[in-house]
């Protein structure tokens, strides 16, 4: 019975496929799974948007939207209708083809990332051997669409926003990859299913999630920072800051294309939360062994929504970082720490089992954190200004 509840979607899929001839089954199976993903994650996007607006409101001592439907739950519907019916304005001097393709490209690439996430036991769309690499390949391609959007608008604010966004995304890509690399190193595989299986073990009821190890915790924090920057979320939302650059690279987009960008951003946020859950929080495994009866997909989506809540919490708390502060932070703090984390993880592997390795690794990481904070983040003393005249 518990088994059935856990595998209910898989059972449903097989039941539907049993009505079809054997030749068609793989293709229709894939089609059904893809269609499910395309329906479920935008629904989660609607929930996330509503949660964000209401959550931010509460954090700012106000209600969020509460007029459309009880407690405002139909607000995303209203927003969707609004963006569908708005006039789609394309500036005359804009590059029409690229202007059109940018949001399309973004949404397509962002949805591709879901193909490798294990959303429950036996619930991965494509169980690729190099699944993590595929995911990062997709997330790297989204930068190109950001650039396309900014450049094709023929608007200097858009272009500036796009360049800043791309610079930011590239800078934080390296720490992102390095912090995920630690997990690959300790598991020995890039297959996301294997990574979850390695975490799905319990000692004294507590799970073996990677976040509960010193290097895993540090990697999780660095991963969180890097993904916040990759999705252009506050506090790293300078490229789309309303008060800075109108809307940055979104400026010349209206109506449904803007909605597509918005969708792409939030779906991207959900997808990197999904990856973070898989890598660090144990994917679909339960927190305690006695809670194993709860279906695995509930744990996965619960953890993803918790990550979204943390994103929203960060957005409500922190002021926006300036571009140079952001870049300094990436190159002078996050990157050295991720490299060090890699070495600490290797040290952990080479020391034997026992309490000593916990102590040593934690000590190294804490000392490194404090030292890097003093050294990497020290602000220079400003002397008299020097001027450079444009020739």
């Amino acid at each position: 019975m518990i088994e059935k509840a856990d595998q209910i979607f898989v059972i449903l899929l097989h039941w539907i496929l049993s009505f079809l001839p054997a030749a068609w089954q793989p293709y229709v199976g894939v089609f059904i799974c893809v269609a499910t993903i395309i329906c479920v994650f935008p629904a989660l996007f609607a929930i996330a948007v509503l949660l964000e607006r209401k959550g931010l409101g509460r954090m700012q001592n106000r209600f969020g939207p509460n007029r459309v439907g009880p407690l405002g739950i139909f607000q995303p519907v209203a927003d969707g209708l609004k963006s569908l019916t708005k006039e789609d304005i394309v500036p005359t001097s804009a590059d029409a083809v690229v202007h059109f393709l940018a949001p399309v490209f973004l949404v397509v690439i962002v949805f591709m990332g879901y193909a490798v996430l294990p959303m429950g036991r036996n619930m991965t769309l494509v169980n690729m051997d190099a699944g993590l690499l595929f995911f990062f390949a997709m997330s790297a391609s989204t930068e190109l669409s950001v650039f396309m959007a900014g450049w094709s608008s023929r608007n200097k604010y858009s272009l500036l926003g796009a360049m800043r966004a791309v610079a930011q995304m590239i800078s934080y890509e390296v720490p992102l990859l390095l912090s995920s690399l630690v997990i690959v190193m300790m598991t020995g595989s890039m297959n996301l299913g294997r990574i979850v299986d390695a975490q799905n073990q319990y000692s004294w009821g507590l799970p073996h999630w990677y976040i509960f190890t010193p290097w895993g915790f540090a990697a999780f924090l660095l991963y969180a920072i890097a993904t916040t920057a990759e999705s252009n979320r506050s506090p790293f939302d300078l490229p789309e800051g309303e008060s800075e650059l109108v809307a940055g690279y979104f400026t010349e987009y209206s109506g449904f294309k803007f909605a597509l960008f918005f969708l792409g951003e939030y779906v991207g946020m959900l997808s990197v939360s999904g990856l973070g859950t898989t890598l660090f929080l144990g994917g679909w495994s339960a927190p305690f062994s006695f809670l194993g009866w709860v279906p695995s997909w509930i744990w996965f989506f619960g953890k993803v929504m918790m990550s979204i809540c943390v994103f929203i919490w960060l957005r409500g708390t922190l002021p926006r970082m300036r571009q140079d502060q952001l870049m300094n932070f990436a190159w002078k703090f996050v990157l050295p720490l991720s490299l060090l984390n890699l070495m600490v993880a290797a040290l952990w592997r080479f020391m034997g089992e026992g309490l000593l390795r916990w102590g040593v690794c934690s000590a190294i990481l804490v000392v490194a954190y404090v030292v890097m904070a003093r050294v990497g983040m020290s602000r220079e003393q400003f002397g008299p200004r020097s001027y450079r005249y444009a020739e």
């Binding site: 959550g55 509460r58 954090m59 700012q60 001592n61 106000r62 209600f63 919490w313 960060l314 409500g316 708390t317 922190l318 954190y369 404090v370 904070a373 003093r374 983040m377």
Partner: protein, 204 residues
């Protein structure tokens, strides 16, 4: 310690979030129009004419002196004097305004008309939900719409109204005392002149 500020900030936001469900201090929104904040005493929106008693025509304090019309900066008041007279609060017959129009789309709520009125006849109201769909005459208020009772004035500006009432009562008492003294003097003089010819007659 690097990152301490971040954690403190997160704690504060979390406190805000959790507190907004339990305490009104952390959720200060007043959901207009279902809930309204009570206006404070000094609220002022647009003028109204005060009348004493029950009948608005008889008790209207305004005597059409037209001072407010002249002092109004955007000239939103239009007054036409009446031909006949009616008694005011001291009993003295005064003219009254046959027309008193205020165009509240022009009125800038400066309260100058209130400050210059010598008869405490025009005061500031606290109504602001006055929007109308009639774009031609909907915001032009005439005498009948502007006249509101003294009880209403007490309700919206209690201290001011009490003070005005005290002053008016005092003046009325003074006027009555003066009238009584004048009446007594006149009666005494009448009695003296009545007594003198009587005395003169009895002498002769």
């Amino acid at each position: 310690m690097f990152g301490e500020g971040l954690l403190k900030g997160l704690a504060e936001t979390a406190r805000n979030f959790a507190g907004s469900f339990v305490s009104a201090e952390r959720l200060t929104t007043v959901q207009y129009p279902e809930e309204r904040l009570a206006p404070i005493e000094g609220t002022r929106d647009f003028p109204f004419l005060v009348y004493d008693g029950a009948d608005w025509e008889a008790g209207l304090r305004c005597v059409a002196c037209q001072i407010c019309e002249k002092e109004c900066p955007p000239k939103c008041i239009y007054i036409e004097k009446s031909v006949d007279k009616k008694p005011d609060y001291t009993g003295k017959p005064q003219i009254y305004p046959a027309r008193f129009d205020i165009d509240i789309s022009v009125c800038m709520s400066c309260q100058i008309c209130v400050e210059v009125c010598p008869f405490e006849a025009i005061k500031m109201d606290t109504e602001f939900e006055l929007s109308t769909t009639d774009r031609f005459g909907g915001l032009l208020y005439d005498r009948k719409e502007l006249a509101k009772s003294n009880e209403h004035y007490h309700k919206i500006h209690p201290t001011e109204a009490a003070e005005v009432d005290a002053r008016l009562a005092e003046e009325k008492a003074k006027a009555e005392a003066k009238a009584k003294a004048a009446a007594e003097a006149a009666a005494a003089k009448a009695a003296a002149t009545a007594a003198k010819p009587a005395g003169g007659e009895s002498k002769a």
